[in-house]
């Protein structure tokens, strides 16, 4: 008589186990690892695309490490001794806006976009590795206290950032080179990279 509850308990346990087994997703440990690896690969691809853009001259020329803006595909120091100045806009009476306006000038070849200025000194990228640039990008103490969402917005919506794909013509009337990744691909890569956790591959 005392054994009946035990048999009943054992029978229910076995039925429960079999039921659970039947409803377990049919996926092996190998498949899980493969999926993780694929996600990592996608994230790395997004990172590479993003970095192809950030390290292009159209972006890097205004992220100098020596407070001197650069010009052209050879990234030579800005003519006329222009430099960062007190507020990233050049000097008191000769500032960026003495020559650069809010849009490209196709007559003179002077580039322009809204809030034309150097990136803040804390966002100096020149001479850094891709991983170091990414670290600096994510570091709130150096990126203007931007969250991931704010970084995504800055990188995919800011007119000055997007100027890289519409840089106008140079002083000789020749079109400036643009980053090797299209604007739409770049935006997607940025969004995906952050969505996947903003992982820096070398880490």
């Amino acid at each position: 008589m005392k054994l009946k509850p035990i048999y009943t308990f054992l029978a229910l346990t076995v039925v429960g186990f079999l039921f659970a087994l039947a409803n377990t997703p049919k996926i092996s440990a190998y498949e899980i690892l493969e999926k993780q690896s694929k996600n990592t690969q996608n994230s790395n691809d997004d990172y590479d695309k993003m970095m192809d853009v950030l390290t292009h001259q159209r972006c890097m020329n205004c992220h100098p490490s020596d407070d001197i803006p650069k010009q052209g595909d050879a990234s030579h120091p800005h003519h006329f001794g222009m430099a960062r100045g007190e507020d990233d806009h050049g000097f008191e009476a000769t500032s960026c806006n003495t020559c650069h306006q809010s849009q490209n000038n196709l007559n003179s070849g002077v580039p322009g976009a809204p809030h034309w200025a150097l990136a803040p000194a804390s966002m100096a990228w020149e001479g850094l590795t891709r991983a170091q640039i990414a670290e600096r990008l994510l570091d709130k103490s150096m990126n203007g206290n931007r969250s991931h969402q704010e970084l995504i917005e800055h990188m995919t919506e800011d007119d000055l950032v997007l100027w890289a794909w519409e840089p106008g013509v140079d002083a000789d009337g020749e079109p400036r080179t643009i980053p090797p990744v299209s604007k739409e691909e770049f935006k997607k890569a940025v969004e995906n990279w952050f969505a996947d956790g903003a992982i820096i591959p070398s880490k």
Binding site: A93, N105, G109
Partner: protein, 163 residues
Amino acid sequence: MEISLTVNGVSKTVDIADENTPLLWVVRDTLDLKGTKFGCGKAACGACTLHVDGEAVRSCSYPVKFADGKEVTTIEGLGDRENPHPVQQAWIEEIVPQCGYCQPGFMMATAALLNKVPKPTDEDIDKNIINVCRCGTYYRMRKAIYKAAKLQAEKVINESKEA
């Protein structure tokens, strides 16, 4: 397209077919103020420097549409023969110009500098006065900039005394 702007204190309205026409051409050809000069056309030499809302601007590379509703000052509006601006007075006293072509741009750049930095150092001048003079009058211009700063300071003191 109609552009309304104030030039040397006088309200003007100009009708421009292309809103991207350089302000320089409007000032020289439409408003007939020939003091501002065309140099390189690429915002490099500074011969075309004038002021828009008090800021020095290279007018050869400044679309006129951006001047709509703003105050433009050219070399003609800086001062006149009877009442020269301290910069103009200093330029005369130091006999700065040689050919003179680039000088209006230098004077406008200097006036903008003195508005921001009333007592400029050599470093301030090096950073801010980056126009180009093919006659090489830089040495005399530096002397004139110091003199202009002095004249302007005296003018401010005298005006405050009169007030």
